[in-house]
Structures are given as C-alpha cells and as structure tokens.
C-alpha cells in the first residue's frame, strides 16, 4: 500500500537530530574544516551520550533474543534501516564530515552484526555501549585494487600452533581508521584472503582491535572535503589476531560458490543507501541555503509560472529541488525494500549512483547561484560542494554503481558486462 509517511517515532527522532545538526554541527563546521585531522569533540561527546545508550540497549536486546537487535519481536517490516538513513540524511544536512565521526561501530559493526557469532558480538560490540567513545571501521581497498575487491592482496595466514591469524598487507582509504584503532578502543573489520589463489572465494573478513601489535597507521590523507573525518592507510606487518576474530566460516568455498565474498559484499546493500542518504543531506543543505539567501534578495520561486516564464535562477532552483527530491525518493526506496526484507541490490545501486551525482550537481550549482559570496568561505556552500563529491566516489564510484544497475537490469554476469 503506497505511503510516503515516515513512522512518527522516526519523525520525532529526526527533530532531535535536526537540533544537533543546527546547534552543534553547523556551529563547528567551518572550524573543523579549517583544522583538518582535529576531532570534532563537541559533536562526538554530545552524540556518545545517545549512541552509547542505544548501543547498550540494542546489545542487550540482541543477547536476549539472539537476533542482531534490530529485529523487533512482532512480525512485519523492520524500519530500523529507514530510521538509519533518515538520521544519516539529517546529520549530513548538518555536516557530512562530522556525521562520519559519530562514535559507533558503523560499517564494521554492520559486518559483525551480519555474520558475527554471539561470542563475537559480546567481544566486539558490547564495549560500544559503555565507557569512552569508540569507533568501528572497515578496511577493504588496497593500493592496487580500487573498486576491484576480488583483487585483494592482504593475506591472513593461520598459525595453528598459537591458533592465530597473521595479517600482512596494506589497506587504504579507511574512514575512521585512526579513531577506531588509535584514538579509541575500537574495532576495524579487515578484508583479507586466506588463499591468494582462490580469488573471491578466499576473501574473508577479520576483526582487528585497537592496540593490536603489527598494525600501524601509515598515512592520514589530506582531502578535498569531509576533512574532520579521518581517512588513513593501515599497514599490517605480521599482525596477529585470535583465531576467533574471523567473521563467518574460515574454509574456502569452491570457485563456483563465492558465498563468503558475497556475504561480505552484502554489507554494502545497507551501506549504499546510507551513503546515498548522506549525499542527499548535503544536497538538501545546499538547496535550502540557496533558497534562503536568494529569498533574502527578494528572489523566491513562483511555482505557478510556466517553464518559459521563469527566471534562469528560478529554473535552476526548481531543477535542484527536483533532483534532490528524486535522489531522496530513490534512497528511501532502497531502504524500504530492505525494511520489507526484499533484495535491494538494484535499488541500492540506483540510489547510490544517482544520489552521489545529484549531491555533486546541486552543491556545485549552489556555489554558482550564490555568487562571489558562494565561492567564498563566508558561507558553507563551498564546503558542502567539497564534502558532497565524496559520495560520488566512495562505496563504489558512480560508474561502479551504474555498472551494477546495468548488470541487474540486463541480467548479465560480470563476464558479459565488464
């Protein structure tokens, strides 16, 4: 039954999030953009109060009913993903870089949730409900591989004597890697192969905890935008982790079945909508600021004018608004399908591909429409343009996601459509 209304529970939470976005995030956006690599303590401390509580309750629930804690007792759709993406959108409307610093297991946690055992959840997730702020991260990309995750070179060798995995290799572009492994007692899920010759089938994910010897942060990137979120390279030099830190089964499936790899990839069906949501948050911020500033000049869109009687700026604003709405609806759809337990592989890639592009276009247009001031650092528009672009790139570039969409609609394998 077609319905565009958000659950009231979520609406209320969004109002809270908006307050945080306005009063904490916007207030410190410029500061942390200028002081790159500094952690946004105001936001982190404020959020940790909330997140810790939620994680604690969520964890207890999970332990209680053995589920991952999202699934409510009653039947029917599970709106936690909808809640997630609407919150992500609102927090990214506040500051997309700061949102990434939310103290939370995030992607890493999602992976552990998805395939982790009860014991693993106790070991790795319990702590996110107590003590100091902590972060989770996920290490996948390697210098050679880019979006080609099947070409990973990082190895996990089993040392049966000590019943440990020995990790060796380098990972790059790890969001929150520093927060997770250096600045908190967090976790990082690392993708590595237990059999370099097995291709996708050999790839497993492993949980690396903060303070693991042999794990070093090789480099922290200076970026175009989202500067208060750290992006690092990790080097694993005979880094030893307990045998039980592997997520999912250790045995290598035959080439045919690549379930292990697919399982790991599934994490992204949830994270792509989240990235799309973040993109749309930035887009909405830029759209609203532009509307606001032009209104101050007495320029408000007259929606009753036919296309040919509009002013150029008016049409620009309507185009921005249309794209922002379209991108957001695609994102909602990807989330709703997930909520209904349907596969959202197609809709998630559609949303990600389009949202990243839209955020890029809308923010770039905002910097134009806001004139010299829009290009200056007096407003946040120029920052949002820099922030927005990441959504066109990470979690699979627009091209990669378009490729996934194409394969899905054509029913093609990666061999048929390279």
């Amino acid at each position: 039954m077609i319905d565009f209304e958000l659950p009231e529970r979520i609406e209320n939470e969004l109002q809270m999030a908006q307050m945080v976005a306005e009063q904490v995030m916007r207030a410190t956006s410029r500061k942390y953009d200028e002081n790159e690599h500094e952690r946004p303590v105001e936001y982190i401390n404020m959020m940790w109060q909330v997140v810790r509580e939620q994680n604690r309750r969520r964890f207890e629930k999970a332990m209680a009913n053995g589920s991952n804690g999202d699934r409510p007792e009653r039947e029917g759709p599970n709106y936690s993903i909808v809640r997630l993406i609407t919150l992500v959108e609102m927090l990214s409307w506040g500051d997309a870089g700061m949102y990434l610093c939310t103290p939370d297991p995030l992607l890493g946690g999602a992976a552990i949730d998805a395939v982790g055992t009860r014991e693993q959840k106790v070991r790795f997730l319990k702590k996110f409900g107590e003590g100091e702020p902590k972060w989770g991260a996920m290490a996948i990309t390697e210098p050679g591989a880019g979006s080609d995750n099947s070409a990973l070179r990082t190895t996990a060798r089993l040392d049966s004597e000590n019943n440990e995995w020995i990790l060796n290799g380098e990972k790059i572009f790890i969001t929150n890697g520093k927060l997770a492994l250096e600045e908190s007692d967090g976790v990082c899920v690392v993708w590595a192969t237990v059999d370099p010759h097995a291709g996708r089938a050999g790839i497993k994910s492993f949980v690396v905890e903060a303070g693991t010897p042999g794990v070093t942060i090789a480099k922290q990137e200076d970026k175009l935008g989202i500067r208060c979120s750290d992006t690092v390279s990790l080097v694993f030099d005979d880094a030893r982790i307990p045998y039980d830190n592997i997520l999912g089964s250790p045995e290598v499936q035959t080439k045919k079945s690549t379930r292990g790899f697919k399982g790991a990839m599934k994490t992204f069906d949830a994270s792509r909508p989240a990235v799309a949501a973040s993109a749309m948050g930035v887009a909405r911020a830029a759209l609203e600021l532009t509307q606001e500033k032009l209104a101050e000049e007495g320029l408000e869109v007259d929606y009753t004018r036919p296309r040919h009687e509009m002013q150029a700026w008016e049409r620009d604003l309507i185009t921005m608004e249309a794209r922002q709405k379209a991108g957001w609806l695609l994102t909602l759809k990807a989330a709703v399908e997930m909520a209904h337990g349907q596969s959202n592989r197609l809709s998630a890639s559609m949303a990600k591909a389009r949202a990243g592009e839209t955020a890029t276009q809308v923010t770039q247009k905002a910097v134009e429409l806001l004139g010299p001031t829009g290009y200056s650092k007096e407003l946040l528009a120029e920052k949002w343009m820099r922030d927005a672009k990441i959504n066109d790139i990470y979690e699979g570039t627009k091209q990669i996601n378009t490729l996934i969409v194409a394969r899905e609609i054509l029913g093609y394998t990666r061999r048929e459509l390279k």
Binding site: I318, L330, M350, E416
Partner: protein, 364 residues
C-alpha cells in the same frame, strides 16, 4: 507507514491494463498512428474496463473508490501501450473528473450519472490549450465575460481531442484574469470546431482547433456554479495524470531498447555488452524509477487532499525531461531502426517531446 508496494487491487489493475495494452493496443497502435484513428473497438474495450465508473461516487452509480495513486498506476500502464490511445480512452475524465473535484452538487447530479451508466464512452472533451508560442494555462487568452445571468466566451483553442463529435465540452477561459471552466454543449451557437490541429505526435488522436465567438453559457454551467472552481487543483490533477503517462511512455522506450540491445549483435557481441549502451539503459532505468516515485508522491498527496502546486511543478519539470531523454536514448540505441517508422521508438520520441505542451489533455 512508508511503503512503495502496490496493494492487491492495484497489482490486479496494473496486470489487467498491462495485458490490455499489450494484447489490444500494441498490435494496432502503429497503424492507428498512420491512419489517424484508434480502432473504435479498442476504445470501447478500454471504456469497458470501467475505470471511471469505479472511481465515481456510489450516489451516481459508481463504486466510489477514487484514488489518484491508483489512477496514476493505471495511466502508466495504459500509456506504455500507446499515448494517443490512452488520451482517447481517458477522454471522459476530462469532464467527469473536474465535475467530481470541483462541480457543484447540481452539476454532479446532472452529469455524473451518465458516466457510470453509459455503455459507450461519453462523447465529451475539454479545451484548455491555446495556439501561440507562450501558452500559460493560468493566464488564458480566451475570455469569459459576464453577460446578464451568464457568460460570453471568446477566443481560440487548439489540440482539443475529439472535439468534432463532442456533445459536451469543458471549455477553460479567463474570467477577470482567472481561469475558470465552463460546460458547453457541442452544438452551442458561436462554437466552431476545426480545422484539425496537426502536431508532431499523437497521430492517432484527432485534435482540433476550436473557435469561440460570443458563445453564451448560463451561469449555472460554470464549473462549481456560484463559487466557480479552483483551477490550480484541476491543473495539478492533470499534471499528475500526464506525468504518469510520461512514465509509461518512457518505460515503453526503455524496455524496447533494452530488449533490442540484448538481441542486436554487433562486432560479435550483443550491443548491450558495451558499457556505452548498458550505462545508457541504466540511466534510463534510474530516471524512470525516480520519475515514478515523484508521480506517486504527488498523487498520494492529492489523495490526502493536500495542495501540491509546488510538488506538481517540480515533478512536471523533472518528468518532462526524463520522458524526452529516455525516448531519445531509445532511438539512439536502435540506431537506424530507431529512425524508421517500422519500429515504434520514433513515435515515442515524437510523443515524448509533447509533454511540455500537453497541459489539460488528461486528468485523473
């Protein structure tokens, strides 16, 4: 609560109309376009699906479940088959829906029952579009001036579907600068129909010029009677209908191009194996998905009685572009075959370009 899935009734409707479009419309629409007329039996069959009666109030013999969302789903399914056929099948809406939304009690009682009982599609139409290069439905050139206890209509209209045989027309004109609608019998004095208005697309739909010279309309025949009607509301309902139709046309082009690209072998492989083609198809799929969601949201808001002028404008802006670009890409993917009339896509391109000009040609 947030949900983008059709309910059972909608699923069923989409299936029925989809089958109708595929089995009754697709086999004949190309010839209809060349001949300039849709076979009467197809229109009749479309009417017998009974969509309009279903949505009219029980008081007038209908089933009273009027839903713009459901209607949008239906229109997309029809338009996937053929746009000209869709406009003709939906022509009775052009009078019935405005009556339902804005008609006075008296007008509804007088006219609506015919729409639920009629065996054949009622011969009615509406006249909104005007000739010229800067048409604005909110600032019409045709005028309605008060005379005695009625109005005199003057002006010119164009692209009026089926006007020649229309027994009743809903004519839009500016009353003191504000658009109002008037119920005018086909044989009204001063009303001249013709010549045909030839346009790039819609070949199968007879469109006419209309000339209004001092056409007298009793006050009671102004839509809404005393109060008159809220044109903005009617326009929004029309735009949702047209946008839904646009999604149908776009989907037709997308699906045809997709299947063609999978069959068509060049340089030893189906052309769909090439990213340049595959990515175009992906963009088309994403555009259509987004357009449909925009249409559904606007329709959903109308069902909740919201004022959606802003949403309708934004939606139209987006969807008009999507349908044009998608149809154009379909032609591109078919290459030479996209350019010849033996294949359907060139017609979809001609129709697609029209949506920026179709205000008032359909309403739900």
């Amino acid at each position: 609560m947030l949900d983008f899935t059709l309910d059972q009734e909608q699923e069923m409707l989409a299936t029925i109309i989809g089958r109708f479009a595929e089995e009754r419309v697709r086999p004949v629409f190309r010839e209809a376009e060349e001949r300039g007329a849709v076979p009467a039996e197809v229109i009749q069959a479309g009417w017998e699906l009974g969509l309009l009666p279903t949505s009219l109030p029980a008081a007038y013999g209908g089933l009273g479940d009027y839903s713009v969302v459901t209607a949008a789903i239906a229109v997309e399914a029809f338009a996937w088959g053929d746009l000209a056929t869709t406009f003709q099948i939906l022509a009775p809406n052009l009078v019935a829906v405005p009556l339902l939304l804005e008609g006075s009690q008296a007008q509804q009682t007088r006219y609506l029952p015919d729409f639920t009982t009629a065996r054949r599609p009622p011969a009615v139409t509406a006249a909104l579009i005007e000739p010229g290069i800067r048409f604005n439905p909110r600032a019409l050139k045709a005028t309605a001036t008060i005379e005695g206890d009625g109005y005199r209509l003057n002006g010119a209209k164009t692209m009026v579907p089926l006007a020649e045989d229309a027994e009743l027309l809903l004519v839009y004109a500016a009353e003191a600068g504000e658009t109002q609608a008037f119920l005018v019998p086909g044989d009204a004095e001063g009303l001249t129909v013709g010549p045909e208005a030839e346009v790039m697309g819609l070949g199968a739909l007879p469109l006419y010029r209309l000339h209004l010279e001092n056409v007298y309309v009793p006050a009671v025949d102004r839509l809404g009677g005393e109060e008159g009607s809220d044109f903005a509301r009617l326009l929004n309902h029309s735009r949702v209908a047209l946008a839904a139709a646009a999604v149908g046309v776009a989907r037709a082009g997308y699906e045809y191009a997709r299947e063609y690209a999978k069959q068509r072998v060049q340089f030893g492989e189906p052309i769909a194996h090439r990213q340049s083609i595959a990515f175009m198809l992906a963009e088309m799929a994403i555009d259509i998905e987004a357009a449909r969601l925009l249409v559904w949201e606007a329709a959903w808001k109308l069902d909740r009685g919201e004022e959606i002028t802003r949403e309708a404008t934004v939606m139209k802006h987006y969807v008009d572009d999507v349908v044009l670009q998608t149809a154009d890409r379909a032609v591109q993917i078919l290459g030479g075959y996209g350019y010849i009339r033996e294949y359907p896509v060139e017609l979809w391109l001609r129709n697609a370009r029209g949506f920026v000009h179709f205000d008032g040609l359909a309403i739900v």
